[in-house]
């Protein structure tokens, strides 16, 4: 008789709840004729809330489950929460998008829930296998989601490109994992850590580490592994683009940080230089390329690349300050970017016809609140106080300066000064330019209104009173050190 492995369903309850909710929505909508989208959204939201409740106890745990495959700790808790927030907000911003376009796509929510569950596994992983499974669960769902718009060539193209490059990067990641396995004999993060501390590190392990790094760099869209980002972000449905830019990035960074700080910390000198170069390239290219875009989704795509660069600074700085900076940054970024993409979805209207910067001209005249919200998000992205984005950048930069990376931070602030140009250009379009035709007065719909209100107020609130959230982030990275 094989000994029954240790099973801790309570630990993975949030992901479990999401999966079950996904299955339920899927079946429910199969047997519904009409009104499937709102119903699916409501059930999804309920599932997300329940998952949030199920998540709360993780905060006080610090243990491993499933024979060391999964870590249940505050770090997991934080990212689970972040993912749930992202998923919930995305559900809210998607409802109107789908009903407006008369898309009867209740699968959208199903896949959203599944991918969130995948992300949760990824962030809680304590083993490369779990990371891989979570990664693929989320990726495959997102591949489909990206191409879910029927009769939309760009959407299909986005899905295709995402899939090809996503699978490619997964393969690289896996090969790296295989080489590490060959070196260390195991893929559990603690075992890897032990191996790297042993001092007898083979050439192969370094190559494996490098490939792992490349795989992660792909997922977080760091230059030069960012090629897929603009196309995919442009083609995918707008609310989903928001989710991708936030959720996928958060999950990827969560795993990235966990692997590199839990297992590879003893060879930090070997990867920190690589990250330094990546970060600089990412910040520079992301921001510069964003300047020349005329499609707002593309612009935000490059901006999200640039933000990956800033987050990488947090990784380079390392320590508790740097990593907790990453957490706070991602929290701020989640609300900000989801809000921004919510606005993009709303302004884009049917079939995403209006996704060009010029479509934002005079928006403030007809939709003052929408313009105000968008401005808040853009200011936060640009890192201007008193928004959350500022505190995020501040934490990360300060961590880097503390470690002596002055030049890195100087590059960071200079590029973010450049970023002001393109963020403010949108503000300019909204407030200062007059359109040829008066833009339509847009109907928010309750869900979108709720989402944007939450996003905007949170961006301001945690920007002005960041203390609690900084503490939260600081406590959440404790398990890593």
């Amino acid at each position: 008789m094989i000994q029954v492995p240790e099973i801790n369903l309570g630990g993975i309850l949030p992901a479990l709840v999401l999966s079950l909710a996904g299955i339920f929505v899927m079946l429910m909508c199969l047997f519904m004729r009409k009104g499937a989208v709102p119903a699916a959204a409501i059930v999804s939201l309920a599932g997300i809330l329940v998952a949030g409740a199920a998540n709360s106890h993780l905060r006080f745990l610090n243990e491993q489950a499933f024979s060391g495959l999964i870590s249940l700790d505050a770090y997991t808790w934080f990212f689970n929460l972040l993912i749930l927030i992202a998923a919930g907000m995305t559900v809210l911003t998607s409802v109107k998008y789908l009903t407006d376009d008369e898309l009867d796509l209740s699968e959208y929510f199903v896949l959203l829930l599944f991918s969130s569950a995948g992300m949760m596994f990824m962030v809680s992983a304590n083993h490369l296998l779990t990371i891989f499974i979570g990664l693929e669960t989320l990726s495959i769902s997102i591949y489909v989601l990206a191409g879910i718009l029927p009769a939309n060539l760009k959407s299909k193209e986005a899905a295709l490109k995402y899939l090809l490059l996503g699978a490619f990067s997964s393969a690289i990641f896996l090969y790296g994992a295989a080489l590490l396995y060959g070196s260390a004999g195991s893929l559990g993060l603690p075992e890897l850590s032990k191996y790297f501390q042993s001092g007898k590190i083979g050439q192969m392990a370094y190559i494996g580490m490098g490939m792992l790094l490349v795989g992660f760099a792909f997922k977080v869209a760091a230059v030069p592994f960012h090629m897929w980002t603009p196309d995919v972000y442009e083609g995918a449905p707008s609310p989903l683009t928001g989710f991708m830019s936030v959720g996928v990035k958060a999950a990827a960074f969560a795993a990235f940080v966990r692997v590199f700080f839990e297992s590879l910390i003893s060879i930090q000198v070997n990867w920190v230089d690589i990250l330094w170069v990546l970060a600089v390239l990412t910040m520079i290219l992301g921001n510069l390329a964003a300047i020349v875009q005329d499609n707002i989704k593309r612009m935000l795509a490059y901006s999200s690349i640039a933000h990956a660069g800033y987050i990488l600074i947090g990784m380079i700085a390392g320590q508790e300050a740097g990593t907790s900076g990453i957490l706070y940054y991602l929290l701020a970024y989640t609300f900000t970017n989801l809000g921004a993409f919510g606005v993009v979805a709303l302004v884009g209207r049917k079939g995403e016809a209006n996704v060009y910067l010029d479509d934002y001209r005079g928006l403030a005249r007809t939709n003052p609140l929408l313009a105000l919200a968008m401005s808040i998000f853009l200011f936060s992205l640009a890192g201007i106080p008193p928004t959350a984005g500022f505190v995020g950048k501040f934490t990360i930069f300060s961590a880097a300066i503390k470690q002596g990376y002055i030049w890195l931070v100087v590059i960071g602030v200079l590029t973010s000064a450049a970023s002001v140009f393109y963020y403010f250009r949108v503000v300019m379009k909204m407030y200062m330019e007059s359109p040829e035709a008066e833009p339509a007065k847009l109907q928010f719909g309750p869900a979108m209104l709720l989402a944007l209100t939450i996003a905007a107020s949170v961006v301001l609130y945690i920007g002005i009173f960041p203390t609690n959230y900084l503490n939260l982030a600081a406590q959440s990275v404790k398990p890593l050190f």
Binding site: R365, I401, W407, M432
Partner: protein, 530 residues
């Protein structure tokens, strides 16, 4: 330092914000109501700030009305406000200009009044906040906060032709400087924290921290960049003429009167006391740049055909004086420079208002379009004359006192610069009077100017308070100089003592451990430095 019994400074800072929030929920169609609300809040702010004078001890060199609350405890960030004789009048200047700009915009701004007033009020918050904050983080937040409303003021209500260009130029210039300053702030924070053990952004505590020389240089450079752009010092001034010219009248007024002062104030409050050695080392080239600014600004102003642009370039020139006085490090020089900040705020602000008034009537600002206005608008001519003379520095008016003190203070230490700068006064007289002559005197050549109405009661109301102060300072400057004396003295002695302290420290370090000097200088962890 104990908390003040009543959060007076917070009140002054945030009254406009309350107004802005109130405006947010008011109906956008009832423009008059909106204006009244804004005016009332601005006035209330002014009244409260006057009231603050009652608590203010003019003889004390210390920070007063201090409020100190923990904001982000883990990082030693506090919500710390306070004023001394240096910032007192800048705050007053700001609150004084508040109601004036609202009044001045009464008829000028007709589109999107609500947003305009909200921007104005938030701008007010940011400006006051910069002057009263005693925490570097808080200061930085306010510094950036005022960027956005100013950007909107220029970009939305500016002159249609080039306002977008001017707005983005303003933002980019400002933000590049301020972000680098942020880096320096952070570096200072960690350096101080690592050597003293307490991590804090508290300005007064950081004052006492002796920054090693090499680090001082870089940090001062970063601060210098941020402030010099704001001042604006030559050669960082290129955004200013564009911003001034394209901004609406009110925008120009605020920009000239208050925003530029934030740069000079930044030097006196932050850059110099924090990094005295670097500041002392930088004196010669800053003085050179200031003198260049004085003369260059004057020359360029001379050839301008646009009145507003002319006034804008005169600002470059005037602020050169302010910088020069400050870097003389004599009590007259510094006092004069602080006083000159106020003077410039009053007279240049008033000049922009004047320009705005004729612009409202004629929709042009080209000097050539005018001529002989004094006959058509006598009252206007009187005001214009007085402010022009004030700007030139005619004895008996405010400008004279400031410039005189500056030149006096500078002459003691740098006679050459003083002489060169003095030529700027002469040039100023030339271009201002020449302009005045072309606009106001002679025959009315342009028939369009014939029927121009004279100043309305509202416009007089706008100009009179400024006039009062212009004359007051000119005739009895002691009211203003007296509260400055103690803090300026403290400022100078602080700079001196800290300078020697740092030098001694460096010397000691060199003696004890020559090899490690490099490490100690920056006191940052070296193993990861890049």
């Amino acid at each position: 330092m104990e908390n003040a019994s009543f959060p007076l400074l917070s009140l002054i800072t945030f009254i406009p914000l309350i107004g802005a929030i109130l405006l947010l929920i008011l109906n956008r169609e009832s423009k008059t109501l909106l204006r009244w609300v804004a005016l009332i809040f601005m006035l209330a702010d002014f009244v409260v700030s006057i009231a603050a004078l009652g608590w203010f001890d003019a003889s004390s060199p210390n920070m007063q009305l201090v409020e100190n609350r923990v904001w982000i405890a883990d990082w030693g960030i506090s919500y710390k406000l306070g004023i001394d004789g240096i910032s007192l009048f800048l705050v007053l200047l700001t609150t004084l200009l508040g109601p004036i700009v609202v009044l001045a915009s009464w008829e000028d701004i007709q589109t999107r009044v609500k947003e305009f007033l909200i921007s104005l009020l938030i701008l007010q918050v940011g400006m006051i906040g910069v002057f009263v904050s005693l925490d570097l983080f808080l200061f930085y937040v306010f510094w950036e906060v005022m960027l956005i409303p100013m950007y909107l003021l220029i970009g939305v209500w500016g002159n249609p032709a080039r306002r977008l260009y001017a707005a983005i130029k303003f933002v980019l210039y400002t933000i590049v400087g301020s972000l680098l300053m942020l880096v320096a702030i952070l570096a200072l924070y960690f350096m101080a924290g690592q050597s003293t053990g307490t991590y804090t952004f508290d300005l007064l505590k950081l004052y006492d921290f002796a920054v090693p020389l090499k680090a001082q240089f870089w940090m001062f450079l970063a601060f210098f960049l941020a402030f010099a752009i704001k001042v604006p010092m030559f050669p960082f001034h290129t955004w200013l003429p564009d911003a001034h010219t394209e901004a609406p009248t009110v925008g120009s007024v605020v920009l000239a009167a208050v925003l530029l002062k934030m740069g000079t104030y930044g030097f006196i409050r932050f850059a110099i006391p924090l990094f005295p050695n670097a500041a002392a080392d930088a004196t010669w080239w800053i003085c050179v740049l200031s003198v260049i600014g004085v003369i260059y600004g004057a020359w360029v102003a001379m050839v301008q055909v646009d009145v507003k642009r002319l006034v804008a370039f005169s600002s470059v020139s005037h602020l050169g004086f302010v910088m020069l006085g400050m870097f003389a490090f004599t009590s007259q020089g510094v006092e004069g420079s602080i006083l000159q900040m106020i003077n410039h705020g009053l007279s240049t602000g008033a000049l922009f208002l004047i320009v705005g008034m004729i612009y409202e009537r004629r929709h042009t600002r080209l000097i050539a379009e005018f001529g002989g206005l004094s006959k058509v608008m006598p009252l206007f001519a009187v005001f214009f004359m007085i402010f022009t003379l004030s700007s030139i520095g005619l004895p008996g008016l405010n400008g004279f006192v400031g410039e005189f003190l500056i030149l006096l203070g500078t002459f003691k230490v740098y006679p050459v610069y003083a002489v060169l700068a003095a030529s700027g006064v002469i040039f100023a007289a030339v271009y201002m009077l020449w302009m005045f002559q072309r606009v106001m005197f002679g025959k009315v050549t342009n028939p369009k100017n014939l029927g121009l109405p004279d100043l309305s009661a509202r416009e007089v109301l706008v100009l009179v308070p400024i006039l009062v102060f212009v004359v007051w300072i000119g005739v009895y400057p002691n009211t203003f100089l007296q509260p400055m004396a103690a803090p300026v003295k403290k400022f100078l002695s602080h700079v001196e003592t800290k300078k020697t302290a740092v030098l001694n420290m460096e010397k000691a370090k060199k003696q004890t451990n020559v090899g490690q000097a490099e490490v100690a200088i920056t006191s940052l962890p070296v193993e990861n430095r890049r």
